[in-house]
């Protein structure tokens, strides 16, 4: 832990481009300056936050909805649950390729054919709505995770209490609002925290589908660092970027721990 961190700190303060080795002059904060003034920096930070927020919102809302739907017993519930959970076991790269070619391709994708069936012009998803497309892919992948946690936690819901509420004349909506949702507060906090940690570093989906573009429309911080380190071979700036990401993660973590810590105390 200490060694890589120290190395990163050192690299971030020297001029170190792999294509020109030999001279590692100390440059102070220049690398940070170059990272922060990169034209892709602003969009990347905004995209990272937008991506985090949308995916978390989508998975929590849809996850609760789906969990409530499959909570009550019905024929074939086991199969439905397995199907629901399976996208989580698809590898991120495969997930991206699946969406890029089978679903979103404007010439032969399923969505394009659907659009054409209804006489509309197919949408060129990855060009016109790159960030939205990435959000869809990642939500699809993480929805099962949220759903699984909510299903599990619904099973610990006190049935007698629900029954009592019904006897007292509370309708379905009121039972949901006053009993089920408060019961789900903790699992929601857990889902938010775990997703936040993992989604900060989303990379494979962006790399495989849009390559961060067009322009910087779907570049996030992780992808920006990749561009700096492996396409420009600039270790110095990439290290500065990595340190920035550590900072970002810590700020987010402090917020989260406050939020969730409070929530778990109750």
């Amino acid at each position: 832990m200490i060694v890589p961190l120290a190395m990163t700190l050192y690299f971030s303060s020297v001029r170190y481009n792999l294509m020109q080795p030999g001279e590692h002059a100390f440059v102070g904060l220049e690398n940070f300056e170059y990272f922060v003034t990169d034209p892709g920096f602003g969009p990347a930070v905004a995209n990272t936050l937008l991506l985090l927020g949308s995916v978390i919102a989508a998975t929590v809302v849809l996850g609760i909805g789906l969990a409530l739907l499959v909570h009550e017993p019905f024929p074939g519930r086991g199969i439905v649950r397995v199907l629901l959970i399976s996208p989580f076991f698809v590898m991120p790269t495969v997930n991206a390729l699946l969406w890029k070619h089978m679903m979103m391709n404007p010439i032969y994708g399923v969505l394009a054919q659907l659009w054409r069936f209804f006489g509309a012009t197919p949408v060129d998803w990855l060009t016109e709505h790159p960030l939205f497309s990435v959000i869809v892919m990642i939500s699809w992948q993480w929805l099962p995770f949220a759903c699984l946690i909510f299903i599990t936690s619904l099973q610990s819901l006190d049935r007698e209490q629900l029954e009592a509420a019904r006897m007292d004349g509370a309708n379905a909506l009121q039972r949901c609002w006053y009993l089920v949702l408060p019961h789900l507060a903790r699992p929601v906090a857990v889902v938010v925290m775990i997703e936040m940690i993992f989604l900060m570093s989303v990379f494979a989906e962006i790399y495989t589908t849009t390559g961060g573009g067009p322009g910087h429309a779907s570049t996030n911080v992780a992808f920006l660092i990749y561009t700096q380190a492996l396409l420009s071979f600039d270790v110095g700036v990439a290290s500065a970027g990595a340190l920035f990401a550590v900072l970002l993660a810590n700020v987010a973590a402090v917020f989260l721990i406050r939020l969730i810590g409070k929530n778990l105390d109750r």
Binding site: Y34, I107, L126, L231
Partner: protein, 437 residues
């Protein structure tokens, strides 16, 4: 008794193979997953049979990944690879830095048989640092049937205006045919390779003699404006995500009227096993605008030995074998004459079997021999390279500009905005590298 003999023979044979395997030199070869390299991998059993003391271990990667791996390896002196596949961009930079071993093949290799343009691009001060495995330029590939049906004719060396007219006539999205397929995916080796040649022929350049980026100059505006316009009107949807492989798939499916890309594609699109339109495709030179200079690019994938390799002698032997005349003949005999690696040797084009099998041979040879990496722009340029500038900073600049160009293509920003942003990015990188204050 007979059986005992057989047993003994088998045992001896087994012992022999194990000992020879134990003593064998193992060469780690890093290469790119293009068709010709996969073929080399399959045929390398002939080499191993002829040299039982050398064993080959292959690391086959996708182009971008390969570039990252070999660059990281050679720059940090990692020594993972004994032979690496590198291109015309890396060779002069790395050769000058002394990261590569000079290649000194014997007389039987016939150095003078190599095409001069290719040989020059892989040498520093007349010393060869990488041996060309296959070479390529770019040219126009088109559907002769569609062009004829539209009542147009394709000149041998068309101009961009002429191509636009033909594209307009051929374009028929209802029938699933798009007039013009071009690269749009961001990357210095993707859309920028193609766009640089377009800018060259429109009379532009990357840097002037003071190393100032020229991205907001008129030729750039003309070229990029033309490119965006043509692709928007006559290109396939999703063009900003297409590069070589995507366009190849579209063309082979019969969805492109015209496609301007690497000459190496010619053997794929005219191969009936892969292409639905193999018998309908024809070839012309890459289009020109203001000047024919730099209208078509020059590239070679070549094999080189990193200076850190301990097994240079064995590596030389393998490179010698894989880039020799005999190898070309071997591929011709084993796989078919249309599939031999081209663009490296004069003798390949002189072989009657090849001439017969490859109808693109003459167009390809002409394209390669007209490209000149040291003189590819109308105004004088300080850099070497047709579709790139062979300086270490170029990758970063090419990537940044490529992103902007794909944004312009998708209509997210205007051409002018994209070029201004590109200019800023390029100036930043050049200032940082210390070319000027």
């Amino acid at each position: 008794m007979k059986q005992l003999n057989l047993c003994l023979a088998l045992a001896v044979a087994a012992a022999a193979t194990t000992t020879s395997a134990g003593a064998a030199t193992e060469l780690v070869v890093a290469t790119v997953n293009n068709g010709h390299m996969i073929e080399m991998q399959k045929l390398s059993r002939h080499f191993e049979q002829a040299h039982p003391d050398i064993k080959l271990k292959w690391v086959t990667l996708e182009e971008g990944v390969l570039r990252q791996r070999v660059t990281t390896d050679i720059a940090t002196k990692g020594g993972q690879f004994d032979i690496m596949t590198i291109g015309m961009y890396e060779t002069p930079i790395w050769g000058k830095k002394g990261w590569l071993k000079e290649l000194k093949p014997d007389a039987s290799y016939d150095l003078d048989d190599l095409l001069p343009a290719i040989r020059a691009g892989l040498s520093v001060d007349g010393k060869l640092y990488a041996a060309p495995f296959y070479g390529e330029s770019s040219m126009t590939m088109y559907r002769a049937d569609l062009v004829k049906k539209a009542g147009a004719t394709m000149p041998e060396q068309p101009s961009w205006e002429q191509l636009r007219d033909i594209a307009a006539k051929v374009h028929d999205p209802k029938a699933g045919v798009y007039g013009m397929c071009l690269r749009g995916k961001p990357g210095w080796g993707d859309n920028m390779a193609f766009l640089s040649t377009m800018v060259n022929t429109f009379g532009g350049q990357w840097f002037d003699m003071q190393w100032k980026p020229q991205l907001t100059s008129k030729p750039w505006k003309d070229a990029v404006g033309f490119y965006v316009d043509v692709l928007k009107k006559y290109g396939p949807p999703g063009a900003s995500a297409n590069s070589f492989n995507e366009n190849l798939a579209l063309f082979n499916e019969g969805k492109c009227g015209m496609w301007i890309d690497a000459t190496i594609a010619a053997s794929f699109v005219s191969d009936a096993k892969q292409s639905k339109v193999a018998d309908k495709v024809a070839f012309a030179q890459a289009p020109t605008a203001v000047t024919p200079k730099g209208a078509n690019w020059l590239w070679a994938w070549a094999l080189a030995i990193p200076a850190s390799s301990q097994k240079a002698e064995a590596a030389q032997k393998f490179i010698h074998w894989a880039t020799s005349k005999d190898y070309v003949k071997l591929v011709g005999k084993e796989v078919g004459w249309a599939n031999v690696p081209t663009g490296t040797r004069k003798s390949t084009y002189a072989m009657p079997e090849f001439q017969q099998a490859a109808k693109f041979a003459q167009a390809e040879l002409k394209a390669i021999s007209t490209a000149n990496p040291t003189d590819s722009t109308l105004p004088k340029s300080p850099y070497v390279g047709v579709q790139f500038a062979a300086i270490p900073e170029f990758q970063a600049i090419g990537v940044a500009v490529g992103q902007q160009m794909s944004a312009a293509l998708s209509g997210r920003v205007s051409v002018d905005q994209a070029l201004t942003a590109s200019q800023t990015a390029a100036e930043r990188e050049m200032r940082r590298a210390g070319y000027y204050k």
